[in-house]
Protein backbone atom coordinates (compact mmCIF):
# COMPACT_ATOMS: atom_id res chain seq x y z
CA UNK A 1 0.00 0.00 0.00
CA UNK A 2 2.59 2.55 1.09
CA UNK A 3 4.45 3.94 -1.80
CA UNK A 4 8.07 4.80 -1.32
CA UNK A 5 9.06 7.86 -3.21
CA UNK A 6 12.72 7.31 -3.87
CA UNK A 7 14.51 10.45 -4.88
CA UNK A 8 18.17 10.15 -5.63
CA UNK A 9 19.99 12.67 -3.49
CA UNK A 10 21.91 15.12 -5.66
CA UNK A 11 25.59 14.30 -5.76
CA UNK A 12 28.08 16.50 -3.96
CA UNK A 13 29.77 19.13 -6.05
CA UNK A 14 32.77 20.98 -4.73
CA UNK A 15 32.08 24.14 -2.70
CA UNK A 16 28.34 23.54 -2.63
CA UNK A 17 27.24 22.57 0.82
CA UNK A 18 24.84 19.68 0.74
CA UNK A 19 22.76 19.71 3.86
CA UNK A 20 21.10 16.68 5.27
CA UNK A 21 17.52 17.31 6.31
CA UNK A 22 16.18 14.62 8.57
CA UNK A 23 12.54 13.90 7.74
CA UNK A 24 10.10 14.54 10.59
CA UNK A 25 8.25 11.31 11.31
CA UNK A 26 4.46 11.37 11.51
CA UNK A 27 4.85 9.71 14.90
CA UNK A 28 7.33 12.20 16.32
CA UNK A 29 5.17 12.59 19.42
CA UNK A 30 5.17 8.92 20.36
CA UNK A 31 8.72 8.59 21.57
CA UNK A 32 8.77 10.91 24.52
CA UNK A 33 6.21 11.35 27.28
CA UNK A 34 6.39 15.17 27.21
CA UNK A 35 5.37 15.30 23.56
CA UNK A 36 2.78 12.61 24.05
CA UNK A 37 1.41 14.65 26.93
CA UNK A 38 1.13 17.63 24.64
CA UNK A 39 -0.72 15.65 21.99
CA UNK A 40 -3.07 14.30 24.67
CA UNK A 41 -3.73 17.83 25.84
CA UNK A 42 -4.54 18.85 22.28
CA UNK A 43 -6.69 15.75 21.90
CA UNK A 44 -8.64 16.60 25.01
CA UNK A 45 -10.42 19.31 23.05
CA UNK A 46 -12.32 16.58 21.21
CA UNK A 47 -13.71 15.37 24.49
CA UNK A 48 -14.61 18.85 25.60
CA UNK A 49 -16.48 19.08 22.31
CA UNK A 50 -18.25 15.80 23.09
CA UNK A 51 -19.57 17.30 26.33
CA UNK A 52 -20.89 20.23 24.36
CA UNK A 53 -22.61 17.97 21.85
CA UNK A 54 -24.21 15.94 24.65
CA UNK A 55 -25.46 19.10 26.29
CA UNK A 56 -26.94 20.28 22.99
CA UNK A 57 -28.65 16.91 22.55
CA UNK A 58 -29.95 17.24 26.06
CA UNK A 59 -31.45 20.63 25.31
CA UNK A 60 -33.09 19.24 22.20
CA UNK A 61 -34.51 16.30 24.15
CA UNK A 62 -35.86 18.67 26.75
CA UNK A 63 -37.62 20.70 24.10
CA UNK A 64 -39.19 17.61 22.53
CA UNK A 65 -41.03 16.72 25.72
CA UNK A 66 -40.76 14.27 28.64
CA UNK A 67 -40.82 11.20 26.46
CA UNK A 68 -37.90 12.27 24.38
CA UNK A 69 -36.08 13.25 27.53
CA UNK A 70 -36.46 9.85 29.15
CA UNK A 71 -35.25 8.25 25.94
CA UNK A 72 -32.26 10.52 26.13
CA UNK A 73 -31.68 9.53 29.75
CA UNK A 74 -31.85 5.92 28.84
CA UNK A 75 -29.34 6.46 26.06
CA UNK A 76 -27.00 8.12 28.50
CA UNK A 77 -27.08 5.05 30.73
CA UNK A 78 -25.74 2.77 28.00
CA UNK A 79 -22.30 1.38 28.87
CA UNK A 80 -20.84 3.08 25.80
CA UNK A 81 -22.01 6.48 26.88
CA UNK A 82 -20.82 5.96 30.44
CA UNK A 83 -17.45 4.93 29.17
CA UNK A 84 -17.26 7.92 26.84
CA UNK A 85 -18.23 10.28 29.63
CA UNK A 86 -15.74 8.77 31.98
CA UNK A 87 -12.95 9.09 29.46
CA UNK A 88 -14.04 12.61 28.62
CA UNK A 89 -14.06 13.50 32.27
CA UNK A 90 -10.50 12.26 32.72
CA UNK A 91 -9.35 14.20 29.68
CA UNK A 92 -11.02 17.37 30.90
CA UNK A 93 -9.38 17.02 34.30
CA UNK A 94 -6.07 16.45 32.54
CA UNK A 95 -6.62 19.50 30.37
CA UNK A 96 -7.56 21.64 33.35
CA UNK A 97 -4.52 20.67 35.37
CA UNK A 98 -2.02 21.14 32.56
CA UNK A 99 -3.68 24.41 31.65
CA UNK A 100 -3.70 25.76 35.19
CA UNK A 101 -0.05 24.86 35.55
CA UNK A 102 0.76 26.80 32.41
CA UNK A 103 -1.35 29.82 33.33
CA UNK A 104 1.28 31.56 35.47
CA UNK A 105 3.56 31.62 32.47
CA UNK A 106 1.01 33.19 30.15
CA UNK A 107 -0.05 35.70 32.76
CA UNK A 108 2.79 36.83 34.97
CA UNK A 109 1.53 39.09 37.72
CA UNK A 110 3.81 41.80 38.99
CA UNK A 111 3.28 43.24 42.44
CA UNK A 112 5.45 46.17 43.48
CA UNK A 113 8.19 45.35 40.99
CA UNK A 114 8.35 41.66 41.89
CA UNK A 115 6.91 38.84 39.90
CA UNK A 116 4.49 36.71 41.95
CA UNK A 117 5.75 33.15 42.41
CA UNK A 118 4.14 30.73 39.99
CA UNK A 119 2.19 28.77 42.57
CA UNK A 120 0.51 31.96 43.79
CA UNK A 121 -0.86 32.53 40.29
CA UNK A 122 -1.88 28.92 39.83
CA UNK A 123 -3.37 28.47 43.30
CA UNK A 124 -6.38 30.81 42.87
CA UNK A 125 -7.33 28.90 39.74
CA UNK A 126 -7.37 25.67 41.68
CA UNK A 127 -9.23 27.35 44.52
CA UNK A 128 -11.96 28.61 42.21
CA UNK A 129 -12.16 25.20 40.58
CA UNK A 130 -12.60 23.55 43.95
CA UNK A 131 -15.26 26.01 45.11
CA UNK A 132 -17.19 25.66 41.85
CA UNK A 133 -17.02 21.88 42.09
CA UNK A 134 -18.28 21.91 45.68
CA UNK A 135 -21.18 24.22 44.81
CA UNK A 136 -22.17 22.08 41.84
CA UNK A 137 -21.84 18.91 43.90
CA UNK A 138 -24.08 20.47 46.52
CA UNK A 139 -26.75 21.24 43.89
CA UNK A 140 -26.55 17.83 42.28
CA UNK A 141 -26.27 15.62 45.34
CA UNK A 142 -28.66 17.54 47.52
Amino acid sequence: MRQEIVKAAPAYTEFHPRWYRAPVSVYWWLGQWRYLKFILRELSSLFVASFVVITLLQVRALRNGPEAYSRFQHWLQSPWMIALNLVSFLFVVFHTITWFNLAPRAMPIWVRGKRLPEFLVAAPNYAIWLVASVVIAWFVLR
Binding site: P17, W19, Y20, Q32, A106
Partner: protein, 255 residues
Protein backbone atom coordinates in the same frame (compact mmCIF):
# COMPACT_ATOMS: atom_id res chain seq x y z
CA UNK B 1 31.79 5.17 38.36
CA UNK B 2 32.97 3.49 35.19
CA UNK B 3 36.22 4.92 33.97
CA UNK B 4 35.26 4.48 30.33
CA UNK B 5 32.16 5.46 28.49
CA UNK B 6 30.93 4.79 24.97
CA UNK B 7 30.04 7.74 22.81
CA UNK B 8 27.87 7.12 19.76
CA UNK B 9 28.37 10.14 17.58
CA UNK B 10 26.42 11.02 14.46
CA UNK B 11 28.75 11.44 11.50
CA UNK B 12 27.84 12.93 8.16
CA UNK B 13 30.13 14.21 5.47
CA UNK B 14 28.28 15.63 2.49
CA UNK B 15 31.28 14.75 0.36
CA UNK B 16 31.10 11.02 1.07
CA UNK B 17 27.75 10.19 2.64
CA UNK B 18 24.15 10.48 1.59
CA UNK B 19 22.89 10.33 5.13
CA UNK B 20 24.28 10.31 8.68
CA UNK B 21 25.47 7.19 10.43
CA UNK B 22 26.84 6.60 13.91
CA UNK B 23 30.45 6.07 14.89
CA UNK B 24 31.35 4.65 18.28
CA UNK B 25 34.22 5.86 20.43
CA UNK B 26 35.42 4.84 23.85
CA UNK B 27 36.50 7.74 26.02
CA UNK B 28 37.75 7.98 29.59
CA UNK B 29 35.42 9.47 32.16
CA UNK B 30 36.70 12.01 34.63
CA UNK B 31 34.56 13.58 37.27
CA UNK B 32 34.94 17.05 35.78
CA UNK B 33 34.49 16.06 32.16
CA UNK B 34 31.52 17.23 30.18
CA UNK B 35 30.32 15.76 26.89
CA UNK B 36 32.29 18.44 25.05
CA UNK B 37 35.53 17.31 26.74
CA UNK B 38 34.85 13.83 25.42
CA UNK B 39 34.40 15.20 21.89
CA UNK B 40 37.62 17.18 22.23
CA UNK B 41 39.37 14.04 23.41
CA UNK B 42 38.21 12.21 20.28
CA UNK B 43 39.23 15.06 18.01
CA UNK B 44 42.65 15.45 19.59
CA UNK B 45 43.61 11.82 20.10
CA UNK B 46 41.49 9.59 17.89
CA UNK B 47 39.92 11.20 14.84
CA UNK B 48 40.74 14.77 13.90
CA UNK B 49 37.94 14.90 11.37
CA UNK B 50 35.13 14.91 13.94
CA UNK B 51 33.33 18.20 13.36
CA UNK B 52 31.38 20.29 15.88
CA UNK B 53 31.23 23.85 17.15
CA UNK B 54 32.40 25.09 20.49
CA UNK B 55 34.13 28.08 21.99
CA UNK B 56 33.67 29.38 25.52
CA UNK B 57 33.23 26.13 27.46
CA UNK B 58 31.31 28.09 30.07
CA UNK B 59 27.76 27.98 28.78
CA UNK B 60 27.57 31.52 27.49
CA UNK B 61 28.58 31.64 23.81
CA UNK B 62 25.82 29.28 22.71
CA UNK B 63 27.91 27.30 20.19
CA UNK B 64 27.87 23.79 21.54
CA UNK B 65 24.23 22.73 21.47
CA UNK B 66 23.64 19.10 20.46
CA UNK B 67 21.16 16.32 21.10
CA UNK B 68 22.48 14.22 23.96
CA UNK B 69 20.49 11.02 24.31
CA UNK B 70 17.65 12.66 22.45
CA UNK B 71 17.56 15.87 24.45
CA UNK B 72 18.84 19.26 23.35
CA UNK B 73 21.75 20.22 25.62
CA UNK B 74 24.72 22.54 25.83
CA UNK B 75 27.44 19.93 25.73
CA UNK B 76 29.82 22.10 27.73
CA UNK B 77 27.36 22.03 30.61
CA UNK B 78 26.47 18.34 30.50
CA UNK B 79 28.60 16.10 32.69
CA UNK B 80 29.58 12.69 31.39
CA UNK B 81 29.16 11.31 34.85
CA UNK B 82 25.43 12.01 34.85
CA UNK B 83 25.10 9.39 32.09
CA UNK B 84 27.48 6.86 33.58
CA UNK B 85 24.58 4.77 34.88
CA UNK B 86 22.85 4.70 31.51
CA UNK B 87 24.48 1.47 30.33
CA UNK B 88 27.54 3.64 29.83
CA UNK B 89 26.44 4.88 26.45
CA UNK B 90 25.83 8.39 25.27
CA UNK B 91 24.37 9.22 21.91
CA UNK B 92 25.36 12.59 20.48
CA UNK B 93 23.55 14.00 17.47
CA UNK B 94 23.21 17.39 15.82
CA UNK B 95 20.37 19.60 17.03
CA UNK B 96 17.07 18.28 15.74
CA UNK B 97 15.00 20.05 13.07
CA UNK B 98 17.99 21.92 11.64
CA UNK B 99 19.63 20.93 8.36
CA UNK B 100 22.94 19.21 9.08
CA UNK B 101 26.01 20.72 7.45
CA UNK B 102 28.40 18.10 8.68
CA UNK B 103 28.65 15.70 11.66
CA UNK B 104 27.31 17.76 14.56
CA UNK B 105 27.22 21.13 12.83
CA UNK B 106 23.81 22.53 11.94
CA UNK B 107 22.79 25.31 9.59
CA UNK B 108 22.10 28.50 11.47
CA UNK B 109 21.57 31.30 8.99
CA UNK B 110 17.83 30.70 8.83
CA UNK B 111 17.62 31.51 12.54
CA UNK B 112 19.54 34.73 11.96
CA UNK B 113 17.14 35.78 9.22
CA UNK B 114 14.24 35.23 11.59
CA UNK B 115 16.00 37.11 14.35
CA UNK B 116 16.50 40.13 12.16
CA UNK B 117 12.84 40.06 11.11
CA UNK B 118 11.58 40.78 14.62
CA UNK B 119 13.72 43.94 14.87
CA UNK B 120 15.62 43.04 18.03
CA UNK B 121 17.01 46.49 18.69
CA UNK B 122 15.89 49.50 20.65
CA UNK B 123 13.53 51.62 18.57
CA UNK B 124 13.03 55.28 19.51
CA UNK B 125 10.93 57.87 17.80
CA UNK B 126 12.99 60.72 19.25
CA UNK B 127 16.70 61.37 19.22
CA UNK B 128 18.05 62.42 22.58
CA UNK B 129 21.65 63.65 22.55
CA UNK B 130 24.12 61.72 24.68
CA UNK B 131 24.83 64.86 26.68
CA UNK B 132 21.44 64.44 28.35
CA UNK B 133 22.69 61.34 30.10
CA UNK B 134 21.16 57.92 30.38
CA UNK B 135 17.51 57.03 29.92
CA UNK B 136 16.32 56.37 33.45
CA UNK B 137 15.19 52.85 34.19
CA UNK B 138 14.43 51.58 37.68
CA UNK B 139 15.56 48.13 38.79
CA UNK B 140 11.89 47.09 38.69
CA UNK B 141 11.55 48.20 35.07
CA UNK B 142 14.74 46.30 34.30
CA UNK B 143 13.43 43.16 35.99
CA UNK B 144 10.35 43.36 33.82
CA UNK B 145 12.26 42.32 30.66
CA UNK B 146 15.53 41.00 32.07
CA UNK B 147 14.62 37.34 31.84
CA UNK B 148 14.03 37.63 28.09
CA UNK B 149 17.35 39.40 27.57
CA UNK B 150 19.28 36.33 28.75
CA UNK B 151 18.99 34.43 25.45
CA UNK B 152 22.36 33.16 24.20
CA UNK B 153 20.98 32.12 20.78
CA UNK B 154 21.96 28.50 21.33
CA UNK B 155 18.82 27.37 19.45
CA UNK B 156 18.14 24.48 21.83
CA UNK B 157 14.55 25.75 22.01
CA UNK B 158 14.11 25.33 18.24
CA UNK B 159 15.15 21.71 18.63
CA UNK B 160 12.61 21.16 21.36
CA UNK B 161 9.75 22.70 19.40
CA UNK B 162 7.72 20.34 17.20
CA UNK B 163 6.15 23.33 15.46
CA UNK B 164 9.59 24.28 14.17
CA UNK B 165 9.92 20.73 12.84
CA UNK B 166 6.55 20.78 11.13
CA UNK B 167 6.58 24.37 9.87
CA UNK B 168 10.07 25.64 9.09
CA UNK B 169 8.68 29.14 8.56
CA UNK B 170 7.66 29.51 12.21
CA UNK B 171 9.64 32.43 13.64
CA UNK B 172 10.32 30.32 16.69
CA UNK B 173 10.79 30.66 20.44
CA UNK B 174 14.09 32.54 20.80
CA UNK B 175 13.35 35.21 18.21
CA UNK B 176 9.91 35.93 19.66
CA UNK B 177 11.31 36.08 23.19
CA UNK B 178 13.90 38.59 22.03
CA UNK B 179 11.24 40.70 20.35
CA UNK B 180 9.33 40.66 23.62
CA UNK B 181 12.54 41.61 25.44
CA UNK B 182 12.49 44.92 23.57
CA UNK B 183 8.70 45.33 23.73
CA UNK B 184 8.88 45.16 27.51
CA UNK B 185 11.88 47.49 27.82
CA UNK B 186 10.73 50.83 29.23
CA UNK B 187 13.10 52.62 26.84
CA UNK B 188 11.71 51.06 23.67
CA UNK B 189 9.02 52.60 21.48
CA UNK B 190 8.94 50.01 18.71
CA UNK B 191 6.24 47.55 19.78
CA UNK B 192 3.98 48.69 16.93
CA UNK B 193 6.65 47.97 14.34
CA UNK B 194 7.04 44.41 15.57
CA UNK B 195 3.35 43.53 15.42
CA UNK B 196 3.29 42.64 11.74
CA UNK B 197 5.84 39.86 12.18
CA UNK B 198 4.73 38.68 15.59
CA UNK B 199 0.93 38.70 15.39
CA UNK B 200 1.02 36.45 12.37
CA UNK B 201 0.29 32.76 11.71
CA UNK B 202 4.04 32.22 11.38
CA UNK B 203 4.62 34.29 14.52
CA UNK B 204 2.91 33.82 17.85
CA UNK B 205 -0.16 32.15 16.37
CA UNK B 206 2.01 29.34 15.10
CA UNK B 207 2.78 28.39 18.67
CA UNK B 208 0.61 25.64 20.13
CA UNK B 209 2.11 26.01 23.60
CA UNK B 210 3.96 22.74 23.87
CA UNK B 211 6.10 24.51 26.46
CA UNK B 212 9.23 22.43 25.83
CA UNK B 213 11.26 25.46 24.67
CA UNK B 214 11.12 26.82 28.18
CA UNK B 215 12.09 23.50 29.73
CA UNK B 216 15.24 23.04 27.66
CA UNK B 217 16.42 26.65 27.89
CA UNK B 218 19.78 26.63 29.70
CA UNK B 219 19.35 30.29 30.66
CA UNK B 220 15.77 30.14 31.97
CA UNK B 221 14.51 32.56 29.36
CA UNK B 222 10.97 31.14 29.14
CA UNK B 223 10.13 31.77 25.49
CA UNK B 224 6.83 29.92 25.92
CA UNK B 225 5.81 32.47 28.51
CA UNK B 226 6.84 35.34 26.24
CA UNK B 227 4.70 34.00 23.43
CA UNK B 228 1.62 33.36 25.55
CA UNK B 229 1.89 36.80 27.10
CA UNK B 230 2.05 38.30 23.66
CA UNK B 231 -0.99 36.29 22.57
CA UNK B 232 -2.98 37.43 25.56
CA UNK B 233 -2.10 41.04 24.90
CA UNK B 234 -2.91 40.64 21.22
CA UNK B 235 -6.37 39.43 22.11
CA UNK B 236 -6.93 42.19 24.66
CA UNK B 237 -5.64 44.64 22.11
CA UNK B 238 -8.06 43.39 19.53
CA UNK B 239 -10.90 43.72 22.03
CA UNK B 240 -9.97 47.23 23.08
CA UNK B 241 -9.72 48.25 19.46
CA UNK B 242 -13.45 47.56 19.30
CA UNK B 243 -14.21 49.48 22.47
CA UNK B 244 -11.83 52.35 21.81
CA UNK B 245 -11.21 52.52 18.07
CA UNK B 246 -8.74 55.31 18.63
CA UNK B 247 -6.12 55.91 21.24
CA UNK B 248 -5.33 52.41 22.42
CA UNK B 249 -1.74 51.42 22.55
CA UNK B 250 -0.84 48.26 20.67
CA UNK B 251 1.34 45.83 22.61
CA UNK B 252 2.69 48.60 24.74
CA UNK B 253 2.55 46.83 28.04
CA UNK B 254 5.49 48.30 29.87
CA UNK B 255 5.25 49.18 33.52
Amino acid sequence: MADKIILEVARYSPEQDTKPCFATYEVPVHKEWVVLDALNYIKDKVDGSLTYRWSCRMGICGSCGMMVNGEPKLTCATFLSSYAHNGNKIRVEPLRYFPVVRDLVTELSDFLVKLKKVKPWLIRKDTVPLSQGEFLQTPEQLDYYKQFSMCINCTLCYSACPVVGLDPKFVGPAAIALAQRYNLDSRDQGAVERIAVLAHPEGIWGCTFVGECTKVCPKHVDPAGAIQQYKLNAVLDWLTSFLMPRGHNSQDVKP
